[in-house]
């Protein structure tokens, strides 16, 4: 049974990574059709770096991802602190609202925001209301739940006496947050920020409904492209992005591993219900 599961999992993993292999191979292909191998070449990568269209688009995606994840992290962390201090009924309502962007189909979120912006546009008599700002707003909106779902559990896991100890020793509530609490929830903040960044970078559906002609992100442009055969430098771009995200995930992994190890050691030493003997 165990070997069956093991083999099965390997098959699943291969299945998941087939496109990476295909696209990776295509990036080194000396032709435009990924199905037809025409020899190994690095020219696609060369063209990518000289490209004046794709890279700026990637730049746009990165700009939106960075700004929206930063703002979402700050706003979301503040929200988590507030939520943590709420009574159970209010907490349930707020978490319910937080879950809406997560459970709603992306297309509904995109469409609803598009209508909102159109509505505001007519109200304020702005034509062409869609642009960088609307895009940013949309990204922040779908990033917020990820941050909150990352930070709130860390707040719950934290020993509540730590904050009180800081207050007891003379900290104002703000000082207590920056000197003590933030250190305890930092792994949650970082993972929330990284998750937001990754989700933003790759977002297509929502961006597709709220973007403006003056600021286009990479995924949206790729969609518009796919009326004709894709230029191979896009495959090169994909392969590079894959490697970068892989790096980011490995980093996140190591961070989590270090945090887990630290908590395990602390729990072993702290005791709690365990009794300490007189021989130290």
């Amino acid at each position: 049974m165990k070997t069956f599961n093991k083999v099965f999992t390997i098959i699943v993993l291969i299945f998941l990574y087939i496109p990476m292999i295909v696209l990776g191979a295509a990036s080194f292909n000396n032709g435009t059709d990924p199905a037809v191998w025409q020899g190994f070449t690095l020219t696609n990568y060369g063209e990518l770096f000289r490209d004046g269209v794709l890279l700026p688009l990637l730049g746009n995606s990165v700009i939106v991802a960075v700004i929206s994840s930063m703002l979402a992290t700050i706003l979301g962390t503040m929200a988590s602190l507030g939520i943590h201090a709420m009574g159970p009924r209010m907490k349930r309502t707020v978490m319910g609202v937080t879950n809406i962007p997560l459970t709603n189909p992306e297309i509904v979120t995109g469409v609803s925001l598009a209508l909102l912006f159109a509505f505001i546009g007519t109200l304020l008599k702005i034509s062409n209301v869609l642009g960088f700002v609307t895009l940013l707003i949309a990204h922040i909106t779908f990033n917020l739940p990820y941050v909150i779902l990352s930070v709130t559990p860390k707040l719950s896991q934290m020993d509540p006496d730590l904050r009180e100890a800081a207050l007891d020793l003379g900290c104002t509530p703000t000082q207590a947050f920056f000197k003590v609490v933030i250190h305890e929830i930092m792994p949650g903040i970082v993972s929330g920020a990284l998750m937001s960044f990754t989700m933003s970078l790759d977002d297509f559906v929502i961006s597709y409904f709220v973007y403006g002609p003056n600021f286009v992100t990479l995924p949206v442009e790729i969609y518009n492209y796919t009326k004709k055969p894709l230029q191979p430098k896009i495959y090169a771009l994909f392969t590079l992005m894959f490697l970068v995200i892989l790096l980011v995930m490995v980093l996140m992994n190591l961070l989590e591993a270090r945090d887990d190890r630290r908590q395990r050691v602390a729990r072993r030493a702290f005791g709690g219900p365990r009794k300490e003997s007189a021989e130290e």
């Binding site: 199905a35 997560l102 790759d202 297509f204 790729i222």
Partner: protein, 269 residues
Amino acid sequence: MKTKRLATPYLVWMVIFTIVPLGIVIYYAFTDSVTGAFTLKNIANIGNYLPIFVKSIWLALISSIICMVIGYPAAYYIAGRSPKAQRFLYMLIMLPMCISFLLRTLAWVALLDDTGIINGVVTAMGLKALPLIRTNAAVVLGMVYNYLPYMIMPLYTVIMKIDPRLVEAAEDLGCNSAQVFRRVIFPLSVPGIISGFTMVFVPAVSTFYISQKLGSSGTTLIGDVIESQFKTAYNPNLGAALSLILMVLVFICIGIMNRFSDDEEVATV
């Protein structure tokens, strides 16, 4: 200052950018596209799209079930590894989700196309090219491929959290491994199944890109229709009405699922 007031900016944001837009969708759904007056015409028109709704639900359902069948053994296996291996495998499963869903779907086009990679191999062997693309099966494949990690993740999380002492207790009381699985592990993993099912079904039922690329005119899904109402046909009222029904549909599904689970966590991301 009360700490809980820190959440107020966030709440204001969510009201403006999540709740109000949904209200606007409802408003548009019940408004005539030309006169702006209240009307049920849009809702009535939905009747025309009933077969498409049915097809969307059907394909999403099949995909979710396939994901469940494929995902469970994988999640179970991963949950039984050492913590280091678990983290590594979990990362591997999650990684594809973070990179260009568009391009990965296009890769499948390249694989399944009439002149694509698979058919390249098939014809090289002297056989006739297989009609793989532009079928329901291709769309299901695309859905399963894209959303499988969403099934594995919550399943794995739930299975991993099962107290190993429960397994020991069952063994102590006389169960062999199959019985332990059937009587202890599987029932306890049900919240994960429900969570995973929801997380696959919702995007699957509302997708439009997968059906465009891997399907044909016979596999137009509800997402496609909504997209066209907003981008090409420009009838936002009808689009809003369809979105509203889709949203209601999704909430009904989630409501049904939640009745089978006591869990408060709706999404385990």
